[in-house]
Amino acid sequence: MGFEKRLWSTAALAVGVVAVGFWVHNPYTLQLLIVIGIHTLLALGLNMLMGYAGQISLGHAAFFGLGAYGTGILTTHFQWSPLAALPVVLGAACLVGYLIGRPVLRLSGYYLAMGTLGLGIIAHVIFREWDTYTGGASGLVGIPPLALGFITVELGRSGFYTVWATVVLFLVLCARVVDSRVGWALRALGDSEGGAAASGIHTAHFKAVMFSFSALMAALAGYLYAHLLGFISPSSFDFLMSIRMVTMVVIGGMASIWGSLLGASVITLLPEWLHVFCDYEMMVYGLILMVVMIFLPQGLTRGVLDAVQRARSRAHQL
């Protein structure tokens, strides 16, 4: 995508966000849009890792939980202000991401997937078992809302604008990263690690940096989630959440920035549309993952675009 085109699509999204914030009054719809925004942040971060750098993570809910529990514990147990907690939480996610990423990302393929899966499960065990701080299985209550000067950010219009401003910011940031030399290095890494290393790319460092960047985004999403909902429990950060994140990336299309937005929207709206969904949630996610990977390995966005292109060239030939 050219720079100009990207500028236009970003501007269109920003205008869209402002317009939606202006027109939508229904608190339920606003809440749904907030959740979509948070999920977009998660999917975008994971997509940078999975789509571009080609490194899978089956435990990314750990970082989502790190952000949420980090700020939750600092603000409720230690009475920090949410704003003071923000840099600490993000810094911690980056650091943990890098420290874990550096050794774990030496692995590849199956080993990496198993390693990150284990990481996610351990994080979930910690959230559940360390009940003096995390509140155990019943969760952590009374997390204060985010106060920015005289505005309090809550579920509703202020929350909507905060979340979506963050989303637009990170969409632009990720697009810039992908188009930069770093982005090319990442894609080379995703295509062939050996080839990338041979052309002088410091693969271990790049992978760990990307891991910590996507950890940071997940933690930021967790931070917003905790302050907007005011309540967190370990079940929001379990293995299924990690799978949900992978599903968003896969549906939207790996290595597609805008696809993350689509994937997050579909996965958030699906349960709303299908009322019986709750009981079939796992079955549906499992089926989606299998079917998309078998038939449209590039994801829905790419798959649909390709189909359109094929139809167009066929029409051209006639």
């Binding site: 393929g109 499960i121 499992g286 299998m290």
Partner: protein, 292 residues
């Protein structure tokens, strides 16, 4: 001393199960270079299937055992045929996502079929008193587990080394295309490996069920621990799988016994991480990439 022995025996018993699951990973990995993330789901389906056939339908234990294992093996074949064969570009990340999808799907199906409650399953020999070994109690089910695992290990070893199919499978594992050129039906060998590894998982589910109860979500943890055991012993090595399973089981049992039960699942993960960093080829694996 008897306390230590008790922890040790408990650890060996669960370790044997981990070893069996690790064996399932190995059989498939050797033939196809694939790690099946739904391996733990075979264990779960084996256990729950055995429950339904033996308790709910009242079949004799042996028949229920056999049929449950056969059904799961058939499911394993279906997985290969339906979900993995049609993949055009079999890259690791694609295959990982597909088998993860299969595991989530199977878990979802099991939740619909059996609900969320755990079920208890009768031991293979119910009314026998525990055996006393130097002051530690050894449940008869533990003896069953150890016996079955040892028998399966031996059988698998003989199958691989003495039968034509076993040798053909090993040839496929070394170089699938070359084996195909020599007239070995490599596609059938891959199917065989899928069925065999699913069956091994199911046996694990049936024999562990009386100790732990079984529920739709038992698979993930057992699968992960089986993988840890396989890594610990050396992925691809059958004796390594058994050794890795027992070492992991004993470490876990000692950790729970002397520290706290909260850290039980953390132990397997720490072991996995240490192994992945220090000696990715595992205890008995060849240090180079070559596996044979």
């Amino acid at each position: 001393m008897s306390e230590f022995l008790q922890f040790f025996l408990t650890g060996v018993t669960t370790g044997a199960i981990y070893g069996l699951i690790a064996l399932g990973f190995n059989v498939l990995y050797n033939a196809t270079d694939l790690i099946n993330f739904a391996q733990g789901e075979w264990v779960m389906l084996g256990g729950l299937g055995f429950y339904t056939l033996s308790v709910a339908l009242g079949w004799p234990l042996v028949a229920a055992f056999a049929i449950a294992v056969v059904l799961v093996a058939v499911l394993g074949l279906c997985l290969e045929r339906i979900a993995l064969r049609p993949v055009k570009k079999p890259e690791p990340i694609t295959l990982i996502i597909i088998t993860v999808g299969a595991s989530i799907f199977l878990r979802g199906v099991a939740m619909r079929l059996w609900g969320k409650d755990p079920y208890s399953v009768p031991a293979l020999t119910a009314s026998v008193k525990p055996v006393r070994v130097l002051g530690a109690a050894l449940m008869p089910q533990s003896l069953w587990i150890l016996g079955i695992v040892v028998a399966l290990m031996t059988g698998l070893h003989l199958f691989a080394k003495r039968t034509l199919s076993g040798k053909a499978m090993e040839a496929c594992a070394i170089h699938r295309h070359a084996a195909w050129i020599l007239g070995i039906p490599s596609e059938r060998m891959v199917l065989l490996a899928f069925g065999l590894s699913a069956a091994l998982g199911a046996v694990g589910g049936v024999i562990i069920a009386p100790i732990t109860m079984c529920s739709y979500d038992m698979g993930t943890m057992l699968g992960l621990k089986g993988f840890c055991a396989a890594m610990l012993g050396g992925l691809g090595s059958h004796w390594g799988a058994a050794l890795g399973g027992v070492v992991l089981g004993v470490l876990e049992s000692l950790g729970v016994g002397y520290f706290s039960s909260g850290i039980k699942d953390a132990i397997a993960f720490l072991v996995l991480l240490i192994i992945l960093m220090v000696r990715p080829s595992g205890l008995l694996g060849a240090s180079a990439v070559k596996r044979f």
